[in-house]
């Protein structure tokens, strides 16, 4: 059994909570005491139906205001897969939450109300999914029961959305007509839409192929921690020196020739160690410890790659950033801390090229700053070299966060476009 992480975007009106509630309920991930608590609260508030959003809206402020503020993580499993849902609010003021949820997602579900069709917010959600390079996108056309299960309406929405998506980087796009309320095409195929030949939503989630979404070609091993047992009486490990980390790309094997960055020196992998014994290969997302044939000066923040396939060693980055801070803004000359893989440095914003309107994709080149939830293209100068790939090639070696040096808050997420 493997894991599929997916993000859901949409507002309460689109039936998102109903859909999640149904997936959880039908897979028995909602428990009786949770359901009873939700029914009780719904009743106390005079709501006529059982408001399943109360399951996910856990914070006091959210329940008081009837809104979703933050990313909520929910879990369920079927015999085929374990699922982690990052449930994100759909409004524009919560763009940062959707970006956060999408950063680790294998798949995103965007909900569209069949009566309303493709709205501004659907386009925004699709754009953010593509910006964060979520490999699979599902457009769930919901409330089909309210348009008489019309194939014509579904095809209209499909055509309109396909035309828009052609401007984006969407790898795999699937359209599914559903009714979350009635359960049509959610868990099993609906008899109300005999014209639809595809999978139900759950069947799609269980079967979508995600193993090859990882980069298994470019070897990237950011050194995270140096392991040196200092047990005086333990001779077996007296001279042990291992380099621990989580594989960010490629497949490593003992005997492989590798290059250490920043030194540029070559060595070979002597062994790949784990608590459970040495392994014959390591690939994402394994956490392992490497030992090398030569004694090199290696420390946290360094990178292991292949001599003929290296990341860019760069201090000048071109990147798309999503600004996430409430107060401060991003503008040229802003100085920040950058965290990229296991390396931390300081960064200077040299230039803001444009601010992107996330609804229309219009580029405002007159923009002088980015505020909360705004996205733009920037040039950064970093105090020490980073070992980077384009975000489109590898999400782990192409993504970074920016930290405000005064407040210590995480103020931006960045996706590298180019490096020099």
């Amino acid at each position: 059994m493997d894991i599929l992480r997916f993000a859901t975007a949409g507002s309460v009106d689109d039936g998102k909570s109903t859909l999640i509630g149904r997936l959880l309920f039908d897979s028995k991930a909602i428990f009786e005491d949770q359901l009873e608590a939700v029914e009780r609260t719904s009743r106390d508030r005079g709501t006529e139906y059982t408001d399943l959003s109360l399951l996910t809206d856990g914070l006091r402020a959210e329940r008081e205001q009837g809104i979703t503020i933050d990313v909520a993580y929910r879990y369920f499993a079927t015999p085929r897969r374990k699922f982690i849902i990052a449930d994100t609010p759909g409004h524009i003021q919560y763009t940062r939450n959707m970006v956060t949820g999408a950063s680790t997602a294998d798949l995103a579900i965007i909900l569209i109300d069949a009566r309303k069709g493709v709205l501004e917010q659907s386009r925004r959600h699709a754009f953010l999914t593509s910006l964060l390079r979520v490999p699979h996108l599902v457009l769930a056309v919901n409330k089909m029961d309210l348009v008489d299960y019309s194939q014509e309406r579904f095809e209209e929405i499909r055509e309109e959305f396909t035309a828009f998506a052609s401007k984006l980087n969407v790898g795999d796009l699937t359209f599914i007509p559903i009714s979350a309320l009635n359960g049509d095409n959610v868990v099993s195929r609906s008899e109300n839409m005999p014209w639809y030949n595809g999978s139900s939503l759950l069947h799609h989630l269980e079967n979508v192929h995600i193993a090859s979404d990882r980069n298994l070609v470019d070897v990237r091993f950011p050194v995270q921690y140096v392991i040196r047992p200092q047990k005086a009486n333990d001779h077996a490990f007296h001279d042990y020196r291992g380099y621990a980390g989580q594989v960010a790309g490629g497949v490593l094997k003992p005997g492989d020739e590798v290059v250490h960055l920043p030194s540029g020196l070559n060595t070979r992998i002597a062994s790949i160690d784990t608590f459970d014994g040495p392994v014959e290969e390591a690939f994402p997302p394994m956490s392992v410890t490497l030992r090398f044939e030569d004694d090199l000066d290696i420390s946290r923040g360094d990178m292991i790659a292949r001599p003929n396939n290296r990341p860019h060693v760069a201090q000048d980055l071109e990147a798309m950033v999503c600004w996430m801070a409430d107060g401060a803004k991003l503008a040229p000359r802003t100085k920040l801390t950058i965290k990229h893989t296991t390396r931390t440095a300081r960064a200077l914003v040299r230039d803001l090229h444009y601010r992107l309107d996330v609804n229309t994709l219009h580029r405002d080149e007159e923009a002088t700053s980015l505020g909360l939830n705004e996205i733009g293209r920037v040039s950064l100068r970093v105090t020490q070299p980073l070992f980077v790939d384009n975000y489109a090639r590898n999400r782990l070696t192409g993504g970074f966060i920016l930290v405000d040096e005064a407040t210590n808050g995480t103020v931006a997420a960045g996706m590298i476009l180019e490096a020099r």
Binding site: Q34, G58, L59, Q224, I227, P229, K231, D234, N408
Partner: protein, 304 residues
Amino acid sequence: MLQRDYTTSQLDVLEAEAIHIMREVAAEFERPCLLFSGGKDSIVMLRIAEKAFWPAAMPFPLMHVDTGHNFDEVIEFRDRRSEELGARLIVASVQDSIDQGRVVEDTGRRASRNRLQTTTLLDAIEEHEFDAVFGGARRDEEKARAKERVFSFRDDFGQWDPKNQRPELWNLYNSRIRKGEHIRVFPLSNWTELDVWDYIRREGIEIPSIYFSHTRKVFERDGMLLPDAEVVQRGDDEPLFEAVVRYRTVGDMTCTGAVQSTAATVEEIIEEIAATRITERGATRADDRASEAAMEDRKREGYF
């Protein structure tokens, strides 16, 4: 052309993620510690710590906030396991906090030291100058926890502000704090109760005996089975009876209920949990029943 699919099981993915989180903490903080209660989640967390730093010893001490109301079997397990690992165990005692007048104990039948633990925990964090504290909490346990970060920032009063959390992207964690502040770190955030049990089975990890079915004298209160013990105040209208029970969670005797169960092995427990329709906290924890937002309120104050 790749020879194979390179698929990874859900337990391997969760373990790799938890190891990554532990190593980040060890690399970026001066004085971490790991909260070890002898409960199953902290036992799994301890195994992850063993794996993350092997063949070196784990580079931080263990800490237990001892209410004095714990089950004997669990305290025995805690001490034995710490010794086997050669780990330093710090016991922060709620009784000491009471004796020092830092907290005042509730009285009456429903008195519980659960809430008092927060003061003891925060005092210990301050005394030992811990800047990162590992906890075994999972997001599937409770809806306030469903929204908590893996690296969860606490101000210098130990408080959690759910509306002002740091965004967490990819596998990048922000470890920046000022002196006096700390980060609570939850390596098992993405694990479910069933994942924890599957992992215990796969790894053959030992757990305290009270998780398995046994015969115990109990009484019923609010639909929960509480144990017959000196520290649990029982009324005349709450008769004792013998029952075949086990514990799904391990907490204070005063507020942790047993469930009727004949599950005597890890396999049987997994079967039971896969079929159950009630959450572990709903079934067994009086402390979460106080209000809709009981957990959020306690977490805001600095609770685990």
